[in-house]
Amino acid sequence: MAKSAYQNRIELVQGTLDMLVLKTLQWGEQHGYGISQAIRVSSNEVLQVETGSLYPALHRLERAGWVSAEWKKSDANQRAKFYKITMLGKKHLANDYERWGKMVATIEAIMSAKESAL
């Protein structure tokens, strides 16, 4: 089945997809396929964004006003829908990133604690 191809990859942690998408868009506007490729490449092929989650997420972000969209010609000279992060989206990303950092630190603190300290 299709799933077996991703055995070595990590499934995305719930709620982090929005953050990754917004981060990717900070480098510049991009279409859906480009975003998924970018995440895959910049994670050294570890993270695979499923299209089934990516597109609903993009539409959700668009509705929330964190990204805006425009139809443009792609590199391959095809018309594609390009997404761009908005001011609101940047603020949201900063927020998300901060929360993420705190969570990672907290989890790390718990996981690395010595037995005696518990």
Binding site: A2, A5, H31, G32, Y33, S36, Q37, E50, T51, G52, Y55, P56, A57, L58, H59, R60, E62, R63, W71, S74, A76, Q78, R79, A80, K81
Partner: protein, 909 residues
């Protein structure tokens, strides 16, 4: 983007979504091709990695916003297409919903109009009625219990002293159907009500035109010859022309100036009686009413009082204050040295304050229990209709398994499928509701006229209003959920892979069968309950119509005459002239060929009455004779007209004149209670607890007992006095004709004879005595007819369900039956095999329904006449009817199974 724009941009967004996904697929494929994979293989891999594009698109649509309206419109369009595909199912479903929702709406319209709706007055919740309003007319006895009617002096005294109310209004408890003429035109019937000057201001009913009656109109006797018209009367008579104000209206023999028109929609304080004209109570003397003693009298109690509570005052406080004042004021009316007995009576008297925002209504009193019963019955009918439609939907669900599985495979979510199926159910329910409301609009008026037969329809506004429409909307939604929810879940919840493979949904058919069967068991149970109820009402009605009335109701016409425009002398010594007029009418009508007998009477059957106690000279009061006696005043021919037989003594004759010895005829019950061992003839009695004229009346005859007020009354003591000795014009004229005579001919000849005697005496209406008797049990008759009708509908719906279920199972098992027949099974064995299934359902249904019926019919006890709520006949008939109909419904598909040709059935497989 607003949802409206989004709706219009829908097509474009769908296209964009397609393109966006397509771009992704194309890019992925071309990347794969670049890395050296063949294009075909690249496409295959991409499709695999991608999963269902429809699912992705659906998720995108959802995350873009709920888009409920878009989805709804889509579902409705799809639903309409689906419903049109199966017109048979759709029409049966809509028809049963129309009937079910329509019946519920119709009954609720009546419930709302009679029991719930407040009057169109200001802040109805502040209004309180003194007493319960369940009396009409007048009484002169000293209050000794919960008081319902009040005198005009009491009204004035209470108003001055009470502090809990911002205002108190008085209105005559009985409205008079009398004659009025506009600007000298012909007399027409008008309903006139006497009201206090505070009436309109306390109720908070403004004038639509001109002014309402005010305090200045309700001063000294005769000080306010003004009238206020109801809006509908004003429209009828003047077509809404404002120049009508200031016109002179002659009511009876007195002139009034029309000063205003009340707000539209206000028909007076009594629901179910609509007032045409209001006149001030100060005009009471100029306005002749039967039994009127004049409002000045402190114990002539004929008014309803309505108070408006001051803000912040509780009903409890107002009630306490009212009762204190009530005793104070009445005590002062008894004079300086009241009798011990009067004081004693007064000590037991009280005034109960009741919420008065809904007005008073006798229909409310008479119909509240029957209406509640009918409401329950129609609710059960709707429930049965729901079960039926649910069953049909389950069957459709099986037929649509492929469709649903296909949509799920294409990426539709379960919730989406359920919502779509529910939309279809809602669509059905709404179509049924629209037709149902239209049906109810007409039906509720028909029901009302069936319940209250008579020449004049009850004026009750039955146009569907907001509460009725709200009720229908709620009923519709609940109905749709009831019949749609289960089949929708079932349809969406099935495993779609096997369903796609075999296309018939075999995996779910057995659970569907169990569900369908339990629905049918429920239907049978509910039908048998309804039929038991219907049977009880019908049997009770039969008992009622078999009651011996004591008079011969056949071939008698009752003419209701109005002498108010004839200017007859009332309350003067010349009053005997009106009796002479009556005698002339009696004589003339007697001469009409075909007329056997005729006579005037104060009352005929079911028209109210005049009661008091009597005291016989030399006879002590005992437990048995210490009660109210019903009095009637009749012409000489009354007894032979009614067919009331003489037992002893003689009837009234021409010798009983105004100046001769005062005589009375009494009934057997009265004779027995006062003279258990001897004859009452020649004994004398007086009227009243302590008669003003002791021994005034001499008993000259004893007649058989009869029913006077209602068929169900106990034996009453009754006494008759001759018209000549109790002058006054009594409006009921009874005429007995020879059986087989043309009734219309008798009516027109009698009308002519009356007009010849005095053209100013008007015939209000003509009724047959038989109609009067049936009219008195019209409510019971209506309930019996309606419950039977709904019982039959319930059974019929149940039969459709059973027929459908068995037809379906026979069709599915065609090949099995073919094999059985080929192997030598006899057709009657097959028949039994199928019928057995239905008998099981029947037995289960009865086992469920009969005990419920047995334990719940007790609440009907007060509505049944001389019939046990556990009447075995009614129960047996109900069981038999349900059984026969169920088996008949099963017989048709079972017969079809036996007609299967084995060869054809096997080939079909």
């Amino acid at each position: 983007m607003s949802w409206l724009q989004r709706l219009f941009a829908r097509r474009r967004m769908e296209r964009d979504l397609d393109k966006e996904i397509q771009f992704h697929v194309d890019s992925q494929v071309s990347d794969k091709v670049q890395s050296g994979i063949s294009e075909i293989e690249a496409r295959r891999l991409t499709r695999l990695e991608f999963g269902g594009t429809e699912k992705i698109k659906e998720d995108c649509r959802q995350s873009r916003g709920t888009m409920w309206l878009e989805t709804l419109l889509q579902d409705v369009r799809y639903g309409v297409r689906q419903l049109r595909k199966s017109p048979g199912f759709t029409s049966i479903a809509i028809l049963s919903l129309t009937l079910g929702i329509g019946a519920n709406t119709a009954i609720f319209t009546l419930v709302n109009a009679l029991l719930l709706r407040p009057l169109p007055v200001e802040k109805p919740s502040e209004l309180f009625l003194f007493g319960d309003g369940q009396a009409q007319g007048s009484t002169s006895s000293i209050p000794e219990e919960s008081t319902r009617l009040f005198s005009y002096p009491f009204f004035h005294d209470l108003r001055q002293k009470a502090t809990s109310f911002s205002g108190i209004a008085a209105v005559d408890s009985s409205q008079s159907a009398t004659k009025a003429s506009i600007g000298g035109g012909a007399y027409q019937t008008a309903h006139v009500n006497l009201v206090s000057g505070s009436y309109f201001s306390v109720l908070g009913v403004p004038a639509f035109l001109g002014r309402t009656i005010g305090e200045s109109d309700d001063g000294a006797d005769g000080s306010g010859p003004v009238a206020v018209a109801s809006y509908s009367w004003f429209q009828r008579q003047f077509n809404g022309d404002p120049s009508a104000l200031g016109k002179t209206i002659r009511i009876q023999s007195h002139d009034y100036t029309l000063v205003g028109v009340a707000r539209p929609g206000f028909y007076g304080y009594t629901v179910g009686q609509s007032t045409d004209l209001w006149i001030p109570l100060s005009m009471e003397k100029a306005f002749s009413r039967p039994g009127s003693d004049g409002l000045g009298s402190k114990f002539f109690q004929s008014l309803y009082l309505i108070g408006r509570l001051k803000p912040g005052v509780t009903a409890t406080r107002a009630s306490a204050e009212t009762n204190v004042l009530f005793h104070q004021i009445l005590r002062s009316y008894l004079g300086p040295q009241p009798s011990r007995q009067h004081l004693d009576e007064l000590a037991h008297a009280s005034v109960e304050l009741n919420p008065g925002g809904r007005g008073v209504s006798f229909l409310r009193y008479a119909f509240s229990v029957p209406l509640k019963i009918l409401m329950a019955i129609v609710a059960v009918v709707l429930l049965i209709a729901c079960a039926n439609i649910a069953n049909m939907l389950l069957a459709r669900g099986v037929a649509r398994t492929r469709e649903v599985a296909m949509r799920i495979a294409l990426g539709a979510s379960r919730s989406r499928i359920v919502l779509q199926l529910l939309t279809e159910s809602l669509l059905l329910a709404f179509l049924g509701a629209v037709a149902g409301v239209a049906l109810a609009w007409k039906a509720s008026a028909v029901l009302l006229s069936m319940a209250t037969p008579g020449p004049n329809p009850i004026p009750l506004n039955l146009t569907p209003d907001l509460p009725v429409l709200g009720f229908t909307l709620a009923a519709t939604m609940i109905t749709a959920l009831l019949f749609g929810l289960l089949p929708a879940f079932r349809a969406a919840g099935l495993e779609f892979v096997p369903a796609l493979k075999d296309g018939r949904g075999s995996s779910s058919s057995s659970t569907r069968g169990a569900l369908a069967r339990s629905l049918i068991v429920g239907q049978i149970a509910l039908s048998v309950i309804l039929l038991v109820v219907a049977g009880l009402f019908v049997r009770s009605l039969i008992n009622l119509s078999n009651i011996e009335t004591g008079f011969d109701k056949q071939n008698v016409l009752i003419f209701s005459l109005d002498s108010s425009t004839a200017n007859l002398p009332h309350g003067t010594s010349d009053e005997i002239r009106s009796v002479q007029l009556q005698e002339q009418i009696e004589d003339r009508v007697q001469d009409i060929p075909g007329v056997k007998a005729d006579g005037f009477a104060f009352f005929t059957f079911n028209q109210g009455g005049w009661t008091d106690q009597v005291l016989f000279q030399g006879i002590p009061r005992t437990q048995s004779n210490d009660g109210q006696v019903l009095f009637n005043i009749t012409g000489k021919g009354y007894f032979s007209t009614m067919g009331i037989q003489l037992v002893e003594g003689r009837l009234f004759t021409a010798q009983d004149t105004q100046t001769s010895n005062k005589v009375a005829i009494i009934n057997e019950t009265m004779a027995r209670r006062f003279f258990p061992n001897g004859s009452p003839i020649g004994h004398r009695f007086g009227i009243g607890e302590t008669p003003d004229h002791p021994g005034e009346k001499e008993v000259i005859g004893v007649v058989k007992d009869a029913k006077y007020g209602s068929l169900t009354e106990d034996k009453l003591m009754a006494a008759y006095f001759p018209c000549t000795q109790n002058p006054g014009f009594y409006g009921n004229f009874a005429v007995r004709y020879v059986p087989g005579e043309n009734q219309q001919e008798i009516i027109s000849r009698t009308r002519r004879a009356i007009a010849e005697v005095n053209p100013n005496i008007l015939v209000n209406n003509v009724d047959s005595l038989e109609e009067q008797v049936y009219g008195s049990i019209a409510t019971q008759s209506l309930v019996a007819r309606l419950s039977s009708f709904f019982g039959v509908i319930a059974v019929f719906l149940g039969c459709i369900g059973i027929y459908g279920l068995l037809s379906y199972s026979v069709a599915r098992r065609t090949s099995e039956f073919g094999v059985r027949l080929a192997l030598g099974a006899r057709s009657h064995m097959l028949l039994w095999m199928i019928l057995r299934e239905c008998l099981l359902l029947l037995v289960l249904g009865l086992a469920l329904g009969v005990p419920v019926a047995l334990s719940s019919t007790r609440i009907l006890k007060s509505q049944l006449y001389e019939l046990s709520p556990l009447d075995p006949t009614a129960i047996a008939i109900a069981i038999a009817a349900v059984s026969v109909m169920t088996i008949a419904a099963a017989w048709l598909p079972a017969r079809r199974a036996t007609k299967i040709d084995p060869m054809q059935a096997l080939r079909a497989e």
